[in-house]
């Protein structure tokens, strides 16, 4: 029977634990920061590079490499921003880390700040987590009063404070350059890269590191264990644990911190398999933006060997080899009770609501895709709609300022590619009323 491997969530859900600083200290909290402050910043950056840590926010970019790209010669101040916008549908792991173990986030941030000569750090937290913002604020005050944040941290001579910045309900603020614009007091229109790589031209056009909450928590354990020992957790190129969020049609949805597990181990051993009498049909592996995996397809592993769905290894490379991406690690499970067109309509309605509106293909394309899907759901589908939708969606990703264009292209195209029969059967029919989500779906 597969099991979790809890490192970041080691204490979070235990009865003995609550988020106060004394609890954190009793479990060895802030020892990582003290250890880090005795080392040279560049050595810490090497440690993080050696650990192989990849960012947990979405793209899976090497954290050590990101840090090495920071412009240290410009003479401008360097900023750090912890990304707690957590808005990708299906994702709720940062909420756990912030609510249940806020000092781990703060310790990770202060180590990252010291390692990168950061003068000021921020946490960007979405508006819909008001309690999280209060918990963080309280924890920062506790940490400041004990000398772990603020002036002359642990008498090392290093100073850096943290400010909690609350969002106001816009998904696009999770995209790092949109986030930076938002923090500057502007509309969160993502910036174009190049030239606006945050490591060079970030907040106030100064070098800026944007890291996800979970990425920063991992920094604590890299320092504690050492980069090399950390790199032995997980698979080569996919080091460390990852917190996967499973929602939708499984017996036991929730968050699971795992090392190297297969789909079968996660979805059956940990999540209890499908609901009684149901069959899994499709899995959206990494948040609503990602391509769907059809359960009865054939897949490949990262060595190119043919495998079945159940043997897909749930990490960056395993899911990429299977034809999608692990994104934000928000896994949404669909079964044979779910109308795939409705599922897509729901997701595209999300992106049509959340487009920042800056690029025509994303703004207009999401609107038209939503409308076509809405009429497919309400029985007004036209003969040409499947082809029209497919074509339209293919012209968005890659033609926009930020990667959100793909959040329309990937779902639309993959759902149609994998479940074309359902889309074609729908043309002109009246079987997929929008109401059906509430009609056909279970009550727990």
């Amino acid at each position: 029977m597969a099991a979790e491997r809890k490192i970041l969530l080691q204490h979070a859900d235990e009865a003995y634990y609550s988020p106060g600083i004394l609890n954190y200290l009793a479990q060895g909290g802030y020892e990582g920061l003290k250890k880090a402050l005795k080392q040279k910043p560049e050595d810490l950056r090497q440690e993080v590079l050696r650990s192989g840590l990849r960012g947990r926010g979405g793209a899976g970019f090497s954290c050590g490499l990101k840090w090495s790209l920071v412009d240290r010669k410009s003479g401008k101040p360097i900023y750090l921003i912890c990304n707690c916008d957590e808005s990708e549908p299906g994702t709720f792991k940062d909420r756990q880390l912030v609510h249940k173990d806020p000092h781990q986030v703060i310790e990770g941030m202060m180590i990252a700040a010291y390692a990168n000569d950061v003068v000021q750090a921020f946490i960007y937290i979405r508006e819909e987590m008001p309690l999280g913002a209060k918990i963080l604020q309280g924890a920062i005050e506790e940490a400041r009063s004990m000398g772990f944040v603020g002036e002359n941290i642990c008498h090392s001579g290093f100073s850096c404070d943290i400010v909690v910045h609350r969002g106001a309900g816009a998904y696009i603020c999770g995209e790092e350059t949109g986030l930076i614009e938002s923090m500057e007091g502007k509309r969160p229109y993502p910036r174009i890269k190049p030239p606006y790589f945050p490591a060079v031209l970030g907040l106030y056009q100064c070098p800026t590191i944007v890291n996800n909450v979970e990425t920063l928590c991992n920094i604590v354990h890299i320092v504690r264990l050492g980069g090399e020992a950390y790199a032995r957790i997980g698979r080569h190129g996919n080091t460390g644990t990852r917190i996967w969020c499973v929602s939708g049609m499984v017996q036991n949805p929730g968050y699971f911190e795992i090392e190297t597990l297969t789909m079968k181990e996660l979805l059956y051993d940990l999540c209890g398999g499908p609901l009684p009498g149901r069959k899994f049909t499709g899995i959206i592996p990494g948040g609503a933006s990602m391509k769907i995996l059809k359960v009865d397809d054939n897949f490949r592993n990262r060595d190119g060997r043919a495998i079945g769905f159940e043997d897909i290894i749930i990490d960056f490379d395993g899911i990429q080899a299977a034809g999608s991406m692990s994104g934000s690690a928000g896994m949404i499970v669909l079964d044979d009770s779910v109308n795939i067109i409705e599922a897509l309509a729901n997701i595209i309605a999300f992106f049509a609501h959340e487009t920042c509106g800056q690029c025509t293909p994303c703004r207009e394309g999401s609107y038209w895709a939503r409308n076509i899907l809405a009429r497919m759901c309400s029985g007004g589908a036209r003969e040409e709609d499947v082809a029209l939708l497919y074509d339209l969606a293919g012209n968005i990703g890659g033609r926009t300022v930020c990667p959100m264009g793909y959040s329309i292209t990937w779902p639309v195209r993959s759902y149609i590619d994998k479940f074309r029969d359902q889309f074609e059967a729908n043309a002109g029919s009246n079987t997929c009323g929008v109401e059906s989500f509430s009609e056909r779906l279970i009550e727990k």
Binding site: S87, G167, G185, P253, I332, N346, F437, S438, K444
Partner: protein, 177 residues
């Protein structure tokens, strides 16, 4: 909006607490314009919405054009030009919650609270809305009632607790008026 006045003219009476929060927020940032979202949050918390006067006041305070503030207010869903109900209910409608019956919960809430989705009650006690993913998808359907998260709303008991809370808060609101 009324004609824009020149910088330095807007005036507004805010509570000492809010004013204190505003000064702290401004001091928190390397550039004061970064405090604009926090100022809007604080004023909306006190007033329930953001008036022309509030927008001009914030613009004055941060030395930016009022349009730069207005364009944030119109962009971010959280900022409101009209007063929200005393209690604000936001029910998540995104896929994982929808799979667990969010739309059906929405219908029941409309009936139980006698308020349509996307609307505020005439007596100012309640605003009921759908929201996008609230980052609590495994315990869906979920709703935020002001600052509190209600989970597993497809369980009849949980839904009833939410409805009772809303009614209690609305009653408090009515008696305080």
């Amino acid at each position: 909006m009324r004609p824009v006045r020149s910088i330095g003219e807007a005036s507004m009476k805010l509570s000492p607490n809010t004013l204190q929060g505003i000064e702290t927020a401004i001091a928190n940032y390397p550039r004061k314009q970064s405090a604009v979202m926090t100022l809007l949050h604080l004023i909306q918390e006190e007033r329930g919405f953001l008036s022309d006067e509030a927008i001009e006041w914030v613009a004055d305070k941060l030395e930016i054009q009022p349009i730069k503030v207005l364009e944030l207010v119109t962009f971010y869903p959280h900022y409101r030009r009209e007063k929200l109900g005393k209690t604000h209910v936001r029910l998540c409608r995104t896929l994982p919650c929808a799979l667990m019956g969010a739309y059906r919960v929405g219908d029941r809430l409309e009936a139980a609270l006698n308020c349509k989705m996307g609307q505020s009650k005439g007596d100012g006690t309640l605003t009921l809305e759908y929201a996008e993913c609230l980052a609590a998808c495994a315990t869906g359907p979920v709703a935020l009632v002001d600052e509190d998260l209600y989970e597993n709303l497809n369980l009849p008991g949980s839904l009833q607790t939410l409805v009772d809370t809303v009614r209690d808060r609305s009653a408090e609101g009515a008696s305080a008026l």
